[in-house]
Amino acid sequence: MPLAHGEKLSTYRIQALPSSHLLKVLGFRKGTQFTIQSKQPFKGPIVVKVGNRSIAIDYDIANEILVEEVVQN
C-alpha cells in the first residue's frame, strides 16, 4: 500500500521506496517503522514520526513509498 493512503496514528513499515539521497539521510530505509502523525488538506504533505522526530513527506513521494501496516497490541 502506498504511504499516501495510510491513516493517521497507524504504524507502518517500509517495504519499498524510491532511491533518494535525502530520504536515505533522513533515515528512511527498507524496514524503517513509523507512525503517521498528521495528514494535510489539499494533498499536502504526510507528517510521520520516526522515533522522536517528525518528518514531512510530500504527497507524491508518499505515493511512491510502499508500506505495510504494523499491527500493535
Binding site: 530505509r29 494535510q40 504533505p45
Partner: protein, 586 residues
C-alpha cells in the same frame, strides 16, 4: 549576507590562531553553541562560487585565540546539495579541530554525519547537545560509552543554558594540538548497521508522559488546531509590529525627532546658512535634514525593528517550518513548495534577504517565482510602516483591503507564473524541528546582524532618495516633472499632480512612493489608490540590484515591467470604479 570573500580562507590552520569548524545536522542547536562560544565580532559571508552563506566569529578562550566557523547544517558530506558542497570545501581547507554537534534526541540520524567526519584527518570532538530535551523525552544516553564507540571525546551539553560548554572548549583546545589520521570510508550498509549497534548500546528510552511542549509540537503540525494556531500567531505578530510600532513612533520617536532634533538642526543651519534654496534643501519642508531624519528613523525604523524582533523569534523557535508544512497543500496549487512561505514571510521584512533566502533548497523555477511574488505583491516592513502611517489613522478598512489585495494578487500571479515558467518545484521532504524557546544570546546576535544589514543597505539608499527628493522638490524640477506626468496622475489615478514625486521616488525606495502622500491631504479613495499603486509598483533599487545579481538583468527588467504596468493598471481601475460607485451613491 555581505560578500567579504572568504574570511575562512584567511586563517590558515597550524599557526597560533586556532581554527574550529562547527558542524552538525540542521536544527541541532548549532547556532546557539556558536553564539555562546564566539565573541562580539560575528559576520556572515557568502562562500565564493556558491549560493550558501556561513557565519564566522572570533573566539577567546584563556590564552587561546582563534576563529570559529558555523558551517551550514548538513545530513551528510556527499556534496549533493550546495550546503554539503560548502561543508566539504571548508573541511578540505583544513582546521585544527572539528566540533560536531549531535542532537541527543535524534542520535541515530545524527551519527551518520558523525561517521563521515571521521574520514577527514582533523581531530573531532562531539558535542551531545539538547540533553535537557532528551531527558524530558525520557531518553538516556551514556556519553562515556558513546565516546568509546566513536573513538573521540563526547561532551554532553545544554548549550542554551551554558551547560558543558566550558568543558567542550577545554577539550577542543587540547585536541587541536593533536594530530589525527583519516579513517577508511565505510560503505552505506555497514555504516548504518554499526550506528544501529552503537545506539542500542548507549541509549535507553523510558516512556514519559507528554509534556506541554510535545503536545504543542503535535498540535501545530495538525490541520486542526494547527491552522487556527498559525492564523492566531500571524495576527499576534502583526499586532506586535503594527501596535508596537505605532506606540514607539507616537510616544518616543516622533516627539524626539520633531520637537528636539529637527528644531535643533534648523536653528543651527539657520545661523550658518542664509535663507534661500540651499537652506531650503537642508531644512525646508522636504529638507534633507528634516525628512532625512524623520522618515527613516521615526516612521520606518520602528516597524522594521519590530518585524525582525518577531520574525527572528519565530524562526529560532522552530515554528516556521510548521507553517510551511501546513501551507504546502495550497502553495503547491500555484506551483511552489510550502517551505517557500518562509522567504515569502521574510519578504514582509525586506525583499532583499527574502530573495537571497530563495537560494536555500529550491529549484530555479521556484526561486524565480518566489522572487517575483515577493517583488510584486509583498509589502516590505518599510512600506508597511508607510501604509500604516498613511491609512492607519484614516481608514483601517482600506488598510485591510490593501493587504487582502496583496494576497489575492499573489495567488493570481502565482497561477500565471506557474504556467509560463518552465520547470518543476521540488517536493517537500523535511524534518520538522523541535519547538523551543529561543536562546537569548543567539537571538540578540541575529537581531543585531539583521539591523546592521538593514542600516547599511536600506538607510543609505533611503537617504540618497531623500536628497534627490529635496533637490527636485526645492529647486522646481518637480513642477516640470509634474506637468509632464500630471494629466496621467490626475486623470487616470485621480491623485494630485504632486503625487508624481511619489512615483519618481518610489523607484529608489518602496516606502518613498507612499510617504510624500502623507503631506497631501488626500481623501480615503485617493489614499487607497496611492497605496495600491505603491503596493504593486517597481520594487526599490536594491531589489532591482539583487534580482539582477541573483538571476539576470533580463529577469529584473521583466519583473520591473510587470510590476509598473500592474501598479498603474490596478490603481487606475480602482480609482475609476471607486469614483463610479461614489458617483452613483450621490
Amino acid at each position: 549576507m555581505n560578500c567579504h570573500g572568504d574570511a575562512a580562507a584567511q586563517v590558515k590552520p597550524g599557526n597560533n590562531k586556532m581554527k574550529i569548524l562547527l558542524m552538525g545536522n540542521p536544527n541541532v542547536g548549532k547556532s546557539v553553541v556558536f553564539s555562546k562560544l564566539t565573541g562580539v565580532h560575528v559576520d556572515s559571508s557568502n562562500y565564493t562560487g556558491t549560493t550558501v552563506d556561513y557565519t564566522i566569529g572570533d573566539i577567546n578562550f584563556g590564552k587561546q585565540q582563534g576563529v570559529m566557523i558555523d558551517v551550514p547544517g548538513t545530513y551528510s558530506l556527499e556534496a549533493t546539495s550546495e550546503a554539503e558542497k560548502v561543508a566539504v570545501a571548508l573541511l578540505e581547507e583544513g582546521a585544527d579541530v572539528v566540533i560536531c554537534v549531535l542532537d541527543a534526541t535524534h542520535l541515530e540520524r545524527n551519527l551518520g554525519l558523525a561517521f563521515e567526519l571521521k574520514e577527514y584527518p582533523i581531530p573531532i570532538i562531539y558535542c551531545l547537545n539538547l540533553m535537557d530535551v532528551a531527558e524530558r523525552q525520557g531518553i538516556k544516553i551514556d556519553a562515556e560509552k558513546l565516546a568509546e564507540e566513536l573513538g573521540s571525546p563526547v561532551i554532553p551539553t545544554v548549550a542554551i543554558k551554558n551547560q558543558g560548554l566550558r568543558e567542550l572548549m577545554q577539550t577542543a583546545v587540547k585536541l587541536s594540538k593533536e594530530r589525527k589520521d583519516s579513517e577508511p570510508k565505510l560503505d552505506e550498509e555497514e555504516k548504518w548497521n554499526r550506528i544501529k549497534e552503537i545506539v542500542s548500546k548507549v541509549q535507553a528510552q523510558v516512556d514519559k508522559e507528554l509534556t506541554f511542549i510535545e503536545k504543542l509540537e503535535d498540535w501545530t503540525i495538525q490541520p486542526w488546531p494547527g491552522i487556527p494556531i498559525a492564523i492566531l500567531v500571524l495576527i499576534a505578530s502583526l499586532g506586535v509590529v503594527v501596535g508596537g510600532g505605532k506606540a514607539l513612533r507616537a510616544v518616543v520617536l516622533l516627539p524626539l525627532v520633531k520637537q528636539v532634533i529637527v528644531p535643533f538642526l534648523t536653528k543651527i543651519i539657520s545661523l550658518v546658512i542664509p535663507a534661500g534654496i540651499f537652506r531650503n534643501v537642508l531644512v525646508g519642508e522636504f529638507g534633507i535634514l528634516v525628512i532625512g531624519i524623520e522618515w527613516p528613523f521615526a516612521l520606518i525604523l520602528p516597524y522594521v525593528f519590530l518585524f525582525y524582533v518577531v520574525f527572528s523569534f519565530l524562526e529560532d523557535s522552530g515554528y516556521l517550518p510548521r507553517i510551511g508544512v501546513l501551507a504546502d497543500g495550497v502553495l503547491r496549487r500555484i506551483g511552489i513548495q510550502g517551505g517557500n512561505i518562509i522567504p515569502m514571510m521574510l519578504g514582509y521584512g525586506c525583499a532583499v534577504p527574502a530573495i537571497l533566502g530563495t537560494r536555500a533548497a529550491n529549484t530555479n523555477k521556484e526561486r524565480i517565482m518566489v522572487a517575483a511574488l515577493v517583488s510584486f505583491a509583498v509589502p516590505c516592513a518599510s512600506q508597511s510602516g508607510a501604509f500604516f502611517a498613511l491609512l492607519g489613522d484614516k481608514s483601517i478598512f482600506a488598510l485591510i483591503f490593501v493587504y487582502l489585495l496583496s494576497i489575492l494578487a499573489m495567488l493570481a500571479v502565482g497561477v500565471i507564473l506557474d504556467r509560463i515558467i518552465p520547470g518543476k518545484s521540488q517536493p517537500m521532504l523535511l524534518e520538522v524541528p523541535n519547538l523551543l524557546l529561543p536562546d537569548k544570546d543567539a537571538y540578540k546576535k541575529k537581531l543585531k546582524l539583521r539591523m546592521k544589514h538593514f542600516m547599511m543597505d536600506a538607510e543609505g539608499a533611503m537617504f540618497i532618495g531623500i536628497i534627490v527628493a529635496a533637490i527636485i522638490a526645492e529647486t522646481g524640477i518637480l513642477n516640470e516633472f509634474s506637468k509632464l506626468l500630471g494629466p496621467f496622475v490626475e486623470g487616470w489615478l485621480g491623485l494630485p499632480k504632486e503625487a508624481s514625486l511619489s512615483l519618481l521616488l518610489g523607484i529608489i525606495r518602496r516606502e518613498l512612493a507612499v510617504l510624500p502622500m502623507l503631506e497631501m491631504n488626500l481623501n480615503t479613495l485617493q489614499l487607497t489608490v496611492g497605496a495600491i499603486v505603491a503596493l504593486f509598483y517597481l520594487p526599490c533599487l536594491s531589489v532591482f540590484g539583487v534580482l539582477t545579481k541573483e538571476f539576470s538583468l533580463k529577469t529584473a527588467l521583466f519583473i520591473a515591467l510587470i510590476t509598473i504596468v500592474s501598479a498603474f493598471l490596478f490603481g487606475g481601475l480602482f480609482n475609476q470604479v471607486g469614483r463610479l460607485i461614489l458617483g452613483l451613491m450621490g
